[in-house]
Symmetry: D2
Subunit: 350 residues, 4 copies
């Protein structure tokens, strides 16, 4: 079940209340790489409240290829897509370094904006993006919030089901580091653990991070350590309500894509995250076996679908989406403090 | 993950292969009751390859109400919907007793047909429906086949992962019998266990049922036993490859909607079916707790979505859908043999 | 945890209440085969309230070998052991066909008796054993009752936690049929499923079995079918409170020793039985894997230990043990009705 | 299953090899508090290779009371017990501050020694105890090593099943802090997390801890923070093979006694630890529920039993036990470094 399932059941209005058909939101997608292509397929086939109007990429041939596969229009450039009347909303899945400029441009054109994480590379960029997008819907791609399990955990925490959070955990383990040479330094904090930081902030509502300790290493690809690539990291966050949180990441999970979280508090605990590919269990001479999910799209397909449905709903309702640019800025601040902690080998105060 | 997830990943065609956009299938839905309304919402919001053209019901006001909620057209009658040029395909979610006639009419109008289970009430009706629909796509609503776990189990079985099936199990436990007085006699076999019979036949490929034993009772609502309503049943199927299968059903599962299956064979076992509402586990003074799903739509939301996606794909490809009218006839034959077994308190040979 | 764990915690008496040391019960074991040797090792090393005084076997050399391994006395024959003053209580793990005579002899000598299941081969033998042992403690080896999970399930059922039982299940799957030629006909009912019948009777307190249907086959070793050996069986029990129970068995579980049970009732359900060898889960390229237990002694080591502790306690307290000869007779009656049902291919009334 | 189960199966010697009876080791227990009383009951009733010769306590009345309950001798003082010819081996479950002196005294009397953790309060004490006990068996009570799951995990790690360890985790959550005022400062590190440190060292063989970061707080009983009592702690260990380990503890687990561990490496992962009280699952209107264990004796009853069986075996075999005083010293060094890290709010190099 996705978080959207409840919505489906709840939505049908009562007799006499004519809600009318919802006109799909015409979305233009920028970025034809791995995650862009995945987003495009989801937008085109799984979200009936969205209509994929077209795609663009800094490399026009990449946009053309993806557009042809999906039978949609290829825009000549991101700027052309942003400027087009055929597009009401922009989904940004381009390179992270381009996010801030694209947000500013899209906001300038009055488009609603969905931007993949991280929203920006620096806090200055974050502030610029926030200022530019003050008057348009801006949602950031912290997709885990739309996973049924994570959403249920947050609901339990927010309604007091674990009491005051005291110990939290969030982890991300990726099945593989295809091309270590291409990964920028600090990626493990700003691209990967930023998901976990958002989760931990979301799971400890009304608390702020006051101190961060981080340690990291290149254990998977040690030959890239001198280039600054770190593939294994542990971080400890101290909140102003006394709670401590641990976020961990690795780029070498041989068993699949592993994302889990845990909130332990004064009245109980919730855990969330399951590596099982389905409810199937296979018993044989080697014991009891469950297939594990292999990638983010497989694990979070329903969550990706639900976050785009939320975006479409927010656009149509003219309201702020569930995950904001301010959320993105908070998570980035933690990630950057981790970078400083690794550099100085000291806890860093925020 | 749904069975559709793999499809999503697999689908993008290679470079140079322009697949083009798929024109959504214009579907008309007949039946505005509980499951009809659920199907309509799924067709309207979750399946981008389908366009819900409108709805009809034997009671026009019911159709109007549902149509208004979803912002689609209300046809004046099922016949009007079937005859309309705006409709390429018909989804039948009307009363079971009307299924056969609606199939015959829709096939006569050249429409592709998706019919909820049971396809018919008798084998004679089944033969009539099959004959009428010989030249149009006809899919029956055995939705469990589209659940990721059930599909994975079938794949393991079909590829030899459990060896020769020897002991099988399938069960359905429904959380509640809202209105026992309105349930026709033998419902537990022809409406509920028919799902399990299809599952068991599907999980034991190339084998035929040769004998059936069934026992049933009214334990939930004993006051309706005299009216023929049975709410608790156990059946044993003997296959021509020696395998035995047990199918069980009850209408009183206080803990939610429970659908599970198990295939034990000469080389191993698979089990499938999970009552968990999500990956959340909640720990407190009462121990470790997992919320359970409460209904078929909640448990099988992704499966329903996937079966309609399959239907749309089959219609566009002009091929036979994955679940056929012949499958429906086979499951019905087992259900009717169970009725005879209960009546005679003897094993019944097929 | 075993059922005995609670006992350990509960046992220490209050201040001033001198319970004194418990003199271990001097036990003689009859039967030096596989299960006898296992029982002897458990009695010698794991039950401090028992002292293994010696062993006997119909084949004296077998007794000598086992006795030497454990450093205990070898009696020259079962009769000599039964007659010895060094023995207060007899544990019978001999061939099933000898059980009745050994019970009669041991009871005649005034010994307390623990007898492996089945207590007897026929109801007449059962009555003879019961009459003979009227004045001595007589416990039968339904060890599952002492498993922590099964005991907890029974407690939940007995205290109303599932309401009125409506659908029950118990199954036994053994990892292998080492020597099919040596297995007597009907073994699957009188030796294997008799455990499940006891479980089902125990889990549906105050109800009696009124009808039995059984079907069985030789799917694992078809070449022995003509000799009457059946290795796969499904049985359905109908109780006088309307509940239906399914008991299943197979002799070919490639994945280990699998014993599970389920009680579904008007107010909920309990399931019990776990194939996991420990709490270890291993994640690797093939997914998530748990080692499974391979045999009855591995699965039920704590339960075997606890049943002998109960026996010693009952002997010292001079009270009836928790599992009686009458329990054994009830389970046997169901097993024999199953044999008749398979023979006649009809449900059999008890 | 306990780690002892495998031992039971493996132990019976082959034909002709007369192992003879093992004379139980006569053990004297020092310490009649909560854990001493529990150990005494286990030694008296569950370990057939041990004979509990008597008990002593710094408070003679406490010893008398416990001795009376178990029907064994009460020694007048620990010194009297240590000096007695009736005692071959001493189990020390006295106050931690007395451990070192008792070890020195028992070793001086030539007794074999089992000492609860921590073996000592300082590294100087540890060195003194090690020197004194150089010629007698000395085992320390890191009972988790004898839990079936932990033992299996260690076996997988040691045989390469996860590759090189990269990220480890161990946690202890205790259900309650009965009397916070009585808990010495730093208890969470030297008494509780010392178990986790031993586990982590054991799970990362051949590696040494080179740096430690710890953060801790009084979240459960903040009123005792000024007295130095910390009830919530997170620590990060960096090993010389690059692995990072997180150990966490809390004294307020409302859901029971929670001990888990995880080893993630270059080739896979193992997880271990289960809060389930048994294999029972209970389904009802509130969902699916599993009872959780409530205390260390309940969770580790089999492990405690197995560690005493190992001690008896080591004593009889005249060999070093499986958990040594050197292991205790290593874990203590980590705990003391954590204290320093909390005090200085800096990572501490070892």
């Amino acid at each position: 079940m996705t978080a959207g399932a409840a919505g489906l059941a709840a939505e049908p209005a009562g007799p006499g209340q004519s809600t009318g058909p919802v006109r799909p939101v015409r979305v233009g997608l920028i970025g034809a790489g791995r995650i862009g292509a995945s987003h495009a397929a989801i937008l085109a086939r799984r979200v009936a409240t969205v209509e994929l109007a077209g795609v663009a990429d800094a490399v026009p041939a990449a946009a053309s290829r993806l557009a042809a596969q999906l039978g949609v229009k290829a825009f000549g450039s991101p700027a052309e897509l942003i400027g087009s009347d055929e597009v009401e909303a922009v989904v940004i899945a381009a390179s992270s370094t381009a996010h801030c400029e694209l947000i500013v441009a899209a906001a300038g054109a009055g488009k609603a904006i969905f931007c993949e994480k991280p929203m920006s590379m620096t806090l200055e960029e974050a502030d610029r993006a926030l200022a530019a997008a003050a008057d348009v819907p801006l949602q950031v791609g912290f997709n885990r919030r739309f996973d049924a399990g994570f959403a249920a955990a947050r609901h339990v925490v927010a309604t007091g089901g674990v009491g005051t959070p005291q110990l939290l955990r969030s982890l991300t383990r990726d099945p593989g580091l295809a091309n270590p040479g291409a990964v920028p330094p600090w990626t493990i904090f700003t691209q990967t653990l930023i998901h976990d930081f958002d989760t931990l902030l979301w799971f400890n509502p009304d608390a702020e991070v006051v101190e961060v300790y981080a340690t990291a290493d290149a254990l998977v690809a040690p030959e890239y350590k001198s280039a600054g690539l770190l593939d294994t990291a542990v971080t400890v966050l101290t909140f102003d309500n006394g709670a401590r949180a641990v976020a961990e990441a690795s780029f070498s999970a041989t068993y699949g894509y592993d994302v889990r979280a845990e909130v332990f508090g004064s009245a109980g605990m919730v855990t969330v995250g399951d590596q099982a590919a389905s409810s199937l269990t296979h018993f044989g001479p080697d014991g009891r076996r469950v297939n594990t999910v292999r990638g983010d799209v497989e694990l979070f397909l329903d969550a990706y679908t639900a976050e785009f449905a939320e975006f479409a709903n927010a656009v149509r309702a003219g309201r702020e989406p569930a995950v904001t640019g301010r959320d993105a800025r908070r998570a980035l601040a933690v990630a950057l403090a981790c970078v400083e902690s690794v550099t100085t080998n000291r806890p860093v105060t925020l």
